[in-house]
Symmetry: C2
Subunit: 139 residues, 2 copies
DNA sequence: TTGCGTGCAAAGGTTTTGCATGGCA
DNA sequence: TGCCATGCAAAACCTTTGCACGCAA
């Protein structure tokens, strides 16, 4: 839960660089392992899992769970979202997989409402709205 | 995906009766197995998983996947309560893991807003708000 | 009788953990 | 030097699958 990196290791560096290079793409832990294995600079799988967990905690990447059996997906959060982390919401289409970024005042009110009325401090960086996008609704 | 029961077996009967008896409660497949084991009327775990899958397909129960590692949660809906279940929102505390159910008009407006303004049809059955609960905020 | 449902055991796949080693600060 | 990170192997975990048997219709 609270695993923030204190050291700057080589594995962490190249992992971040890789994730940065594929913004808006969903990557699994297995994908990461495969990528570095093919690169000839393999990283141990436990390191991958531990670093991904840290990066999620640090808000550098997001973790998405589509369903219990498929592996979890990770995705780099762009610099623009990072800066406005607290006002960036994500919607994911369950059909086409598209990820939509939203900046919207009304959605920000959700957070306030959840906290004021339900005593729940929602974290928009971790929260993903699942549903259907416009295109898929019409098909 | 398409596994609808054709036979009315004893295991299916008592499973439905149990789920009906705990409406609004999240139950895992393991919980179900434990319950019947203690009752002295154990059901094979594969039967539990297969029946739960059928019941989801038939719209009798809902399945929630909170995160990839914890087991999936199931919850009785019942024909008359279906509308209610669709307005049930879930908040998960990232610290203590607690799962909170919310029925709230203001949250329903989120759905309408997302659709009206952003053309996104959110599915409350799939969406989980992540954040911190009241207790964990104070500690 | 037909074929679906059951249950056991085993497999499957993802993620976590123990522990010794290696590397950052 | 003192921790933290790494990596290997093994374990843990939930869920699915194969197969023979049992039971509903």
């Amino acid at each position: 839960m609270n695993s923030r990196s204190k050291y700057k290791t080589k594995q962490r560096e190249i992992l971040i660089r890789y994730l940065e290079s594929v913004p808006g793409v969903h990557i699994t832990a297995g994908d990461v392992a495969d990528y570095f294995r093919k690169q000839g600079s393999a990283i141990g799988q436990s390191t991958i899992y531990r670093q991904l967990e840290s990066l999620v905690d640090e808000g550098i990447i997001n973790k998405y769970v589509i369903d219990g059996n498929s592996p979890a997906c990770f995705e780099y959060i762009g610099a623009e979202c990072h800066a406005e982390a607290e006002t960036c919401f994500h919607c994911k289409c369950e059909k086409c997989g598209k990820l939509i970024h939203l900046h919207c005042d009304e959605l920000e009110e959700i957070q306030e409402h959840l906290y004021a009325e339900h005593r729940f401090r929602m974290d928009p960086l971790r929260t993903v709205f699942y549903g259907l996008c416009d295109e898929c609704l019409q098909n």
